[in-house]
Symmetry: C2
DNA sequence: CTGAAAGCGCTTACAG
DNA sequence: CTGAAAGCGCTTACAG
């Protein structure tokens, strides 16, 4: 055999062996029509025989097709700036991959408005994206949405919180149970004897509660697992405004003089910090998330511990995982738990979100 | 301005703006010589101005340079087939990336022969690889080796066990402390009252002990953290042959009639299983690693629990992380802990290594 | 239904 | 010191 033929590889080799052009090979490879059954079979056989693996780098380079990744996360709310962090992560990833013809289409919904979520999922689907990054805030509606994604063969990744039993590509975020568990561990170091804890779930929505409850479960189970008896007072606060919260807290504190520590199960801890300050109650305060308002309260000594989970990283990794999967056909870990970081006044400056 | 110029991007755009050829742009981009200082500066300025980001896919495709990744892991020893698992992972990764002009050069050392390790590190360095995957079995020698890698700017990844404070790209493997902790948790469920535990560190080498001790530390601390009083008998066995082990075990068991469970801190648990069988002692036996010999003992009821850490995955991820970093300039997590899996007779068939 | 050519954004010889 | 051309392994029009 002449050497030249020997050297060929990829589509060229297939084309040569099948006595067709590489254009035809490409058509077979992508199941496009315009190939006679006979040629198709012949080419297919050779592809199989050679165990041909496409060069995905070349494929992406040559293709004019733009890949669309849709992101669906909450609007930055008036209450907390939390969601600006994931957004930054998304934009960092976008910056990195846009040169490979990947476009990121960003959709936002109102955390307190289920309808806005639904309408944004519709909008997303209409664009037929190649992948979706989603914060599955509204559970039922998220399930409905991801079911449609399954049907359409659109891969999707969850960040921030997880919905089990869904056919997702990956979940990237905290292990909610574990983070509650960690807080309990912290609490067990800080509190002594009969000092009690107040757990505050502040959320307007019961759906959202699902996630908060997981944290609470981890929190409670720590004490169970370790056979520690600890009085845990707990209230769910539906209204997020300062006044309502103040009222509730005043009431519960006056009823329970033994409370020495307050654990707020989400990022709204800074509101509680304000209330406690106003009430002149000096309690130990633990909450979640590295957002501006919380950092401020932390530096002023009004919050003692913040539990953080690199929300920017979560979103960044989410986009990159989708990119890897869609473009490079890489397998992705179904669970990508973020480290659970404890931030205090002393170390917050070094925290990289 | 004519539209055509507007459309350009990448090296072409730079070339056009600088009034040079793309060849010259390439020379500047890679700091190769053969460019006059004046042109170089001009081109550099434009690169900066445009904030040019190279298309790494195109770069890899066009480059004829083969990228060499070296792997340095133990030979499959006569005692245990453990290291055949990481080797499989390496080959799986190799299979996947060889089409992108990545070559994996495999070096092996004898786990019981420090000199072989040193000579293999020398051999590795002589080839000037672009990245190294390493099981840092011999600690001092690994430090010496990675110091040289640092000097030469060769990135390296650890699998199986970690050396802290090294400038490594990533560690991929178990959290040794945590896995000991997990075993202790298991033990606390299984044992009652005054029943005692025997911990066995079986290793010919004290260096290796470093890692085993971490597991032991996690094991012990579980009981401390949870204020559980538990008698823990512990022996270090230097000689790995059946007879020595048998002798030691017989002796310790006769001295401690209360021992009801044996925890072997590495994969040599199947040897202990044999001994116990021979001695007709029916104790609960826990050990590490999904290797053939252990699975056999597990199915025959001679081992009760195996703790596994997907050694194949570790190696696969190690290679892929290096590839991502070297070729695609992707940042890599400094820690990639594997899940700690508990394998029993009931679930071992479903385990994917 | 099929092929030949151009081009994706780079790198690599080669020629001057 | 510099440029023009070929080519990496694919995809994409276009022509027939």
């Amino acid at each position: 055999m002449p050497k030249k033929e020997e050297q060929l590889s990829g589509v060229k080799e297939i084309a040569m062996r099948a006595n067709v052009s590489i254009g035809t090979v490409d058509r077979v490879l992508h199941n496009r029509n315009g190939v006679s059954p006979k040629t198709r079979e012949k080419v297919k056989a050779i592809i199989k025989e050679l165990d041909y693996q496409p060069n995905l780098l070349a494929r992406r380079l040559a293709s004019k097709k733009v890949i669309h990744i849709a992101t669906l996360i909450p609007l930055v709310s008036k209450d907390t700036s939390y969601w600006s962090l994931p957004l930054q992560g998304i934009m960092r990833a976008e910056e990195e991959i846009k040169r490979y013809n990947i476009e990121v289409d960003k959709y936002f919904f109102d955390q307190d408005d289920k309808d806005s979520f639904v309408s944004q999922t519709r909008k997303t689907l209409r664009k037929k994206p190649d992948g979706v990054l989603l914060s599955p805030d509204f559970i039922e509606e998220s399930v409905a949405f991801t079911n449609k994604c399954n049907q359409l063969g659109i891969p999707y990744v969850f960040i921030d919180s997880d919905i089990e039993a869904q056919n997702r590509l990956s979940y990237i975020g905290p292990d909610l149970y574990d983070s509650g568990y960690l807080v309990a561990n912290l609490v067990s170091y800080v509190l002594r004897g009969r000092e009690a804890v107040l757990v505050l779930n502040i959320s307007q929505r019961t759906y959202k509660h699902h996630h908060l409850l997981k944290k609470e479960e981890g929190f409670r189970n720590y004490f169970k697992d370790n056979a520690i008896r600890k009085k845990i007072e707990k209230i769910d606060i539906r209204k997020g405004d300062n006044l309502s919260i103040e009222k509730e807290i005043t009431s519960v504190l006056s009823r329970n003089k033994d409370i020495r520590l307050v654990f707020v199960t989400n990022s709204r801890v800074f509101i509680v910090a304000k209330c406690l300050k106003k009430l002149k109650k000096k309690l130990i305060l633990i909450g979640f998330d590295f957002i501006e308002e919380n950092i401020k309260a932390l530096t002023e000594g009004d919050i003692d511990f913040l539990i953080c989970q690199k929300p920017g990283e979560q979103a960044y990794k989410g986009i990159m995982s989708l990119y890897q999967h869609i473009v490079l056909n890489r397998q992705v870990d179904r669970m990508q738990f973020m480290p659970i970081d404890i931030i205090t006044k002393e170390n917050y400056q070094f925290y990289k979100n």
